[in-house]
Amino acid sequence: MKNAIAAFVSGTLFGLGLALSEMVNPARVVGFLDVTGAWDPTLLFVMGGALAVTMPAFPLVLRRAAPIFSEKFYLPTNVSIDPALLAGAAMFGVGWGIAGFCPGPALAALVTASPTAVLFVVSMLAGQWLTAKVRKQ
């Protein structure tokens, strides 16, 4: 339960940040990716602001023997630059460029009950489910 409360608070801060930075607006994201058009650098400032916190804080946090409410840190163990990583990132890039939505903003946008946001999220979950199913085989 403590883990769920902490995750809810973290998610709320995250959602607030996505809304405040207007990353929930697909036009802003596509504006950032449109480097040869009317380029909108806002996304760069969002990533910069986030990294300004996480880059110094993560190493400090990971010096702890364990997190506050968990027995251990759950960190990715795969370190290889493999075809799945690059192919997956490329597929994600195409979808991101078409819609201007990545997973966080798409979920946050559900609060508007917009049919387009719902359709995107349902398709995204279907894509994840299918890929997980195929890779398990």
Binding site: A6, A27, G37, D40, I81, M91
Partner: protein, 140 residues
């Protein structure tokens, strides 16, 4: 076209960074949105689901609080119908195959100086730029 919102971007980014630090220091988890939901849709482990659902609920509530305070969220969709479905499928499949999205690789992975995340972030931004170039400046 959108006017740059540098103050909102930076402030929102700092909030996202704080959210990621909180999840790591309290739960020991990486705040990667695609990873958090990916484990839910692929079945996952019993007892490992509640915090994930709570995080997603928080995302929606956080955006809702902002909408309440300011009078609403602006969403200018860039595609519709079939385009939304194709984009959603690609984002879902791509983040599952590539083990992460903008938050997991871009914010958390780069902060851990993970080479995988640096490669992934460079790839999805590069391909995203190329995609928008083709859609906006070649096809139309």
């Amino acid at each position: 076209m959108t006017e740059p919102n540098l103050v909102g971007g930076l402030t929102g980014g700092v909030l996202i960074g704080c959210a990621a630090v909180l999840l790591l220091v309290v739960n020991g988890r990486i705040a990667g949105v695609s990873g958090i939901i990916g484990a839910l849709v692929s079945g996952g482990v019993v007892g490992d689901r509640l915090w994930r659902i709570a995080f997603v609920l928080g995302l929606v509530v956080g955006a809702g609080l902002y909408a309440l305070a300011t009078g609403g969220l602006i969403l200018d969709f860039q595609t519709s119908g079939f385009g939304v479905i194709v984009a959603g499928l690609l984002v879902g499949a791509g983040t599952q195959l590539g083990s992460g999205c903008t938050s997991g690789h871009g914010v958390c992975g780069i902060a851990r100086l993970s080479k995988r995340s640096i490669w992934a972030t460079a790839t999805f931004i590069g391909v995203g730029v190329l995609t928008v170039y083709v859609i906006r400046h070649v096809l139309s």
